[in-house]
Symmetry: C2
Subunit: 509 residues, 2 copies
């Protein structure tokens, strides 16, 4: 099935195809404008760029909520009948309907008010974080929270969901509190003790040694390009650039990732690049024949994160990958001595530490950071937690879950941009993604004989081909749950993730 | 007067303001996408970028031809009455009407067919030029010409203009064959003999010496940035990058120019940068309070070219500027010896030569290249010249006007991208711009005492301020002819240009 088939279909189908194609192309233009803003744009041009982005976003929204979209979806749904290859057509219609319902759910004035409040709060947050001034952020953040509540209520009403479920659903369709509660409850119960065990076990191994620099930026970039290429990143249809916060962006057929370099330590940037490469491979591997249609898009943030974490956590931090990569690192930097040893790099890249900062956390403690935020954002939105009490609740939660208390709010509740920018319901996707990554990688090992032996000798294409066939090339033709079930044999199962952690951090893995 | 005043005006005015603001913001997004395409985009992403650009262009067109635009313009025009500051409001309405009439003139299907034909032909032209295969280009180019004829007829009918005038009008409003005929006739009659005189005179002066390189790209860029900054280019709101064909692009408040470097010869790239800086200063100096409205835009291509040529030809190739710039060039490259002398650089930068290639031509022979193209494109469109006969007609014209015959079509009628990309009626703006540049610079010298003495010691801001006040800051509030008349005291007068040439190339200038 391909987009071309719209031509042979009903006028309603054809009109929808045209409309959503335009929505997607505006999205691609926004992707390039966003990339440019983060990497290239001169400082004083921020205001103009915001105007351009706002104008395109509003037009995109107007296209989605056009009454013809609703009418054509109804006509097309009524006419739908089973036919060869019809799954994709049906899934595309379903995704169109979802996009329409999501767009119509929130009144334009509320979207605009929230966008403005988020922008204001994000600016204030930068200052507040720098000055450790939580109290100063409260008024702006309260406004953001009040508007998020309104949005959650509006989305919930339109989609027949509880308000917080309606927020979760925006980032990964189908995610529900009913699923998260037992999952995160289990993590909150078991992981703190597990962290103790891991730290104890870690003591029995030598301390990892950080290789000594300096590591010139140009060389770091060459190495990154070499490893990205080995993983199948196509530099004819993508780029690697520098930005303050690493991300994967760009457009269909033009996937752009970013990193930042530290000349004293190349290991962190390199792993960041491999993480973003996982995102990029997903985008690049989406089904070309459905490009610009909703079903040709990636699934939500949890499945997206599963792809970055599969490449980073499951593959790149593993011994087999390090056996392949280390000689390349040595060749790039002329490294020699005790630090330049697979076992040392493995210890470095699997080191566990109780820390205050989520983005610096290892894969064992990371879920605890997420559970904390999940609990706190639910309490903030339900009203159980007054905003003024957030710092105390944060510190209590850190003590309970991680056994440490941040010295100040900079290292505590002021560290993340998510809430100031209005992103509530996003944090859980990180841990859902980590679980899905474990489960998918286990399935790949099951399906592909000798996968890790191959990786150790640089044979990465079997894995990438498997991901393209089973995940990337599926686009949004199945829900996340359908995809996991079909590929791995079961829906999300946290035990696979916990087994991975046990194997890697307590066993010989 | 500012955009904010729309809020106090009639609903028709307010609606127009909103609509045209959106048109402008799409234009800015297109500006960034176009810049990225030429400087940054990975090769294989061309198709996707073309789709993005097509989608945004169509939406921009749809906004312009919306019936509400016509209706609101009629209401606003009917309600217009003289009032303080009303000139800009009236001019903005006039520009809105012009934009509407231009957009509605050509049916969407024809615009689309032409865009497609131009894209196809441009690709074929690259191959044809490389292979010197004019015959192979004929079918695609004939299609382009046929569609341009249709467009010219449609525009002519809508704007009550002769077809070729309708094409000219698109690039610089108000330009007519009736004006060009005597002008270009005079050039065709007088310039060939003048070139003989200049070449004779040139023999009496020493041959210029090209400074010896290599000149590292990074140093060339630093020098370019230094001179651009001296001319008032703001790097907080603009950029200098590399592209195969230099251009000035970007968006409002984010003006981006490009160049390409040759490590054996820095002089050509440097002059190219100064040329694009002239364009950039125009864009950057447009009236900020009318940003995103039609009256806040630059005038057409002729006036735009006048700004680049004023900075390049009138200023940067003059002795006073070279007195200022040479020490900076020497400091940058550590240059010393006989080449590093103001008189040598002046001879280098004002060297006249009969050549085959327009873009390499000096300011004396350049108009002859333009006259040739103007005559040929009129003949191609009228049907007087069958396309198959173009190479012969080209070579005959070169013999008549420049006294030389290209050895092949690569150096002849295949050299320019304009016709293959559908740009007929564009070439005349280069020479109109050169004339306007002479006339404006003469007026600046008249208005500003000691201008050139100042320039020699690096005082460039009086000229830039004068240009901002008299040209850049005027936006499209006056027509090109009104602007020239108001600023210089007369409409376009080719004699000022010819006097400049005489002074510089036969006199002591």
């Amino acid at each position: 099935m391909s987009e071309a088939q719209f031509k042979d279909r009903s006028p309603a189908h054809a009109a929808l195809g045209t409309q959503f194609r335009r929505v997607a192309l505006i999205g691609d233009a926004l992707g390039i404008l966003g990339w440019d803003q983060a990497t290239t744009m001169p400082e004083a041009s921020a205001e103009g760029r915001a105007e351009q982005i706002a104008a395109l976003s509003i037009m995109q929204h107007e296209l989605l909520v056009d009454p013809s979209v609703r009418d054509n979806i109804q006509v097309a749904l009524a006419a739908s009948a089973p036919e060869p290859g019809g799954d994709w057509v049906a899934a595309n219609l379903r995704e169109m309907e979802r996009a329409y319902l999501n767009a119509i759910a929130v009144p334009g004035a509320l979207v605009e008010a929230a966008a403005r409040a988020n922008a204001v709060c994000e600016v204030q947050w930068r200052r507040a974080r720098a000055e450790n001034d939580f109290a100063g952020l409260v008024p702006a953040l309260q406004t953001v929270i009040d508007l998020v509540k309104e949005i959650a209520a509006a989305r919930g009403a339109a989609l027949s969901l509880d308000p917080y479920d309606a927020l979760l659903d925006e980032y990964e369709a189908g995610t529900r509190v009913a699923q998260l509660e037992p999952l995160f409850g289990e993590l909150a119960r078991d992981l703190p003790g597990f962290v103790d065990q891991v730290l104890e076990h870690q003591k029995s191994r030598p301390e990892p040694v950080l290789p000594e620099g300096p590591f010139p930026v140009a060389t770091q970039r060459e190495l990154a390009v070499e490893l990205m290429s080995a993983l199948g990143f196509d530099f004819q249809a993508g780029r690697l650039d520098i930005s303050h916060h690493p991300f994967c962006g760009g457009a269909a057929g033009d996937v752009r990732i970013t990193t930042r370099y530290n000349e004293e330590d190349f290991t962190e940037s390199l792993m960041g690049v491999l993480h973003e490469t996982g995102h990029a491979l997903y985008e690049a591997g989406l089904p070309a024949s459905w490009r610009y249609q909703p079903v040709g898009r990636a699934l939500g943030m949890a499945i997206h994160e599963s792809q970055s974490l599969l490449v980073e956590m499951q593959v790149s931090r593993s011994r087999p990958f390090l056996e392949f990569a280390l000689p390349r690192m040595q060749a790039a930097f002329g490294g020699h001595g005790p630090a330049w040893d697979v076992e040392n790099f493995y210890r470095l890249y699997t080191r566990v530490e109780r820390g205050f900062i989520r983005v610096d956390a290892d894969e064992v403690t990371y879920p605890l950071h997420v559970v904390l935020r999940y609990r706190l954002e639910r309490a903030l939105l339900s009203g159980d937690l007054p905003l003024a009490d957030l710092p105390g609740a944060w510190n209590d939660g850190m003590r309970d879950l991680l056994g440490i208390v941040p010295p100040d709010d900079r290292m505590g509740c002021l560290q993340d941009v998510h809430w100031p920018s209005g992103a509530f319901g996003y944090f859980p996707t990180y841990t859902l993604g980590a679980m899905a990554a474990s489960q998918l990688y286990a399935a790949a090992k099951r399906d592909l004989g000798g996968l890790e032996t191959g990786i150790a000798s640089g044979e990465l294409s079997p894995l990438i081909d498997w991901l393209r066939a089973n995940v990337h090339g599926q686009g949004a033709s199945r829900t996340a749950e359908e995809l996991l079930t079909s590929v791995t044999g079961e829906p999300l199962n946290p035990q696979v993730f916990l087994d991975h952690l046990k194997h890697r951090y307590l066993g010989s893995g």
